[in-house]
Amino acid sequence: MEFISLVGGSFAMLLDPLILVYVVAGFLIGTIFASIPGLTATLALALLLPLTYSLDVTTALMACASIYMAGMTGGSITATTINIPGAPSSMMTALDGYPMQLQGKGALALGHAALGSMVGGALGAILLIAIAPFVAEASLLVKTTGKFSLLAFAIVVIVIAQRGNMVKAGMAACIGLMLSTIGLDAMEPITRFTFGVADLTAGIDLMPVIIGTFAISEILMQASLAVDSNKTAEALSKVTIRRRDFIPPLSAIREIGVVCYVKSSLIGYFVGTLPGAGGSMGSFLAYAETVRTSSNPESFGKGNPKGIAASESANNAVCGGALVPMLTFGIPGDPITAIMLGVLVINGIQPGPQLMSGQADLIAPMLASLVFSALVLIPLTLFLLGPYFIKIVSIRKDVLYGVIALLAVVGSYVATYSTFQMIMALVMGVLAYYLRKDGFPVITLLLGFILGPNLEEFLRRSLALSNGNPLTFFTNLDSLFFIILTLIFVYFLAIKKPLKSPVSDG
């Protein structure tokens, strides 16, 4: 209850013009990046991460929260108007959004998407505010062996969530873990894998890893794709959107029904709590469930607003869900929460069970910003800027990548003012580029890198406490709980047959 009132009180911080500017700017940048095919809100956050050095950590986290929420919403703009989802989480939105656009109801489809995002985002954030303190309290019961099993569970789930690509996901996680072992050993004063390079003694910084993995590799990917941006611009030039068409009529909202919004939001929220699941899985499951329970399933994929509402409610609710493991256990669920974790780490704040109790005043404003973004910024941005989004999305790609490249490389310099970190960012970018080209999911690399030091520390401590007896992981109840949970997830995600696409020819 105390935490809820703390979040409530944090809304007052948004009255500070400077904080409000950062939150609104973050939301706009997130929306623009998410709506441009080839760019993502993760890239936006990776590029802006170095700038958070000069910001107060609370303000930085509030801006991150608004970018996160915008990232889940912005993808629906091009998904609806030109059938190219700006973000993977909007793939299911395109199934019904684009047919509506072809029927001349594109603006209405965007209105439904915004309403779904608003409801899902707000419900996800409210659930997070209500549940996170209890999870944080429960997480205090997890001791050393349990912490190791929990981290191992997170890595296993992230890997097996990449269905059909598990060996590559496992390999990428191993590369991330290997990179995390470079430098001074955490428990004994010896260096490992530095090969005499003094700059590696302190290990590889998180910043070049994030910038390399998400920004530089993206520039290289786009350079290799040689996408014809003229085609996108041409398709967009045919789209006209009027502001008054955005507002969905009450009858259509009633037809979609409160149950659809709430159920999809809950699905999105719980999917979000799973490491590695992300917005696309949330919207897919919610869409599948909506089609399954609909009395008119054949109307989906042909411009049914209920499909848009389900998809968008779910992917925005993922934001709230994904922050639960990040805030309570220090386990990021997706790339954006991993970067948000980076913001905490570079500001010297250790995420984990103590965070919610010890530094709740830092976290509460971020959650207030999440609610504010969902309830105020989503509808306001669409209404005020909606007609201009199409023009923004048509921006020249060469100029855009020139700006992104500059921000990425100079950004990697900001952390330590050293050329070495810039080189590390380039090395990580090249590595991530070739991994991505070969179908390796780089998110598992990043999470392996982030979770690696703690995984090793808790493994060694657990074994030290039990005189090297590995059975300690089965005899401690907290650890046994996570081992059983891991087995359950392995069964459902890796062994059991997957769900079929709800719209077969979509």
Binding site: P50, L51, Y53, S54, L55, V167, K168, G170, M171, C174, I175, L177, M178, T181, D185, E188, I190, R192, F193, I216, I219, L220, M221, Q222, A223, S224, A226, R396, K397, D398, V399, Y401, G402, V403, A405, L406, L407, V409, V410, Y413, V414, Y417, T419, M422, I423, L426, G429, V430, Y433, Y434, K437, D438, L455, E456, L459, R460, L463, A464, N467, G468
Partner: protein
């Protein structure tokens, strides 16, 4: 003889080369980890324990990937088709890598403004062409200047001397 040549070509398939590299890195990591010392001593876990475990996993995963890729190439027997389907090579990513490398090397020597202007211009040209170069030069100058304003003026980042 032709069969041996075909087999050799299969082993040198583009998709396999990267996986060989991953395997070699994993193996190198494992060997270095083993050289760190014994993983256990008097029931105590040593600094090499986790890297050895990790190295074993990595070598296993990378070996599976190499064998799987090799089997899939062999099964599909599309080597000749693959070779003929290779279109015009796209060197843009390599140019981008080179531009970033040169930029990093020049950043502190030449200073922020000149190096950034040339870097942005090179990226713009790589993503488009040399057409309208004057317009692109002006855009690059503006981007470099805006970058300076954002980093140095707004966020207080100390950039290398403005003009070198």
């Amino acid at each position: 003889m032709r069969r041996v040549y075909g087999y050799m070509m299969m082993l040198l398939n583009r998709n396999l080369v990267f996986l060989y590299l991953v395997f070699a890195l994993s193996l190198g990591y494992l060997i270095t980890a083993i050289n760190l010392g014994s993983p256990l001593s008097d029931g105590r876990v040593e600094p090499s324990f986790f890297p050895i475990l990790l190295g074993l996993f990595s070598v296993t995963f990378s070996a599976i990937l190499v064998f799987r890729e090799f089997a899939s190439i062999k099964r599909s027997s599309q080597l000749a088709e693959d070779d003929s389907s290779v279109g015009k090579a796209n060197y843009s990513p390599l140019w981008v890598m080179l531009s970033i490398f040169i930029y990093i090397m020049a950043f502190q020597v030449v200073g922020y403004f000149l190096s950034s202007f040339l870097f942005v211009l090179s990226i713009i040209v790589i993503f488009s062409s040399l057409d309208k170069i004057i317009q692109k030069t002006i855009i690059s100058l503006i981007i470099a200047a805006l970058g300076y304003l954002v980093f140095e003026q707004m966020f207080g980042v100390r950039l290398p001397a403005l003009w070198g």
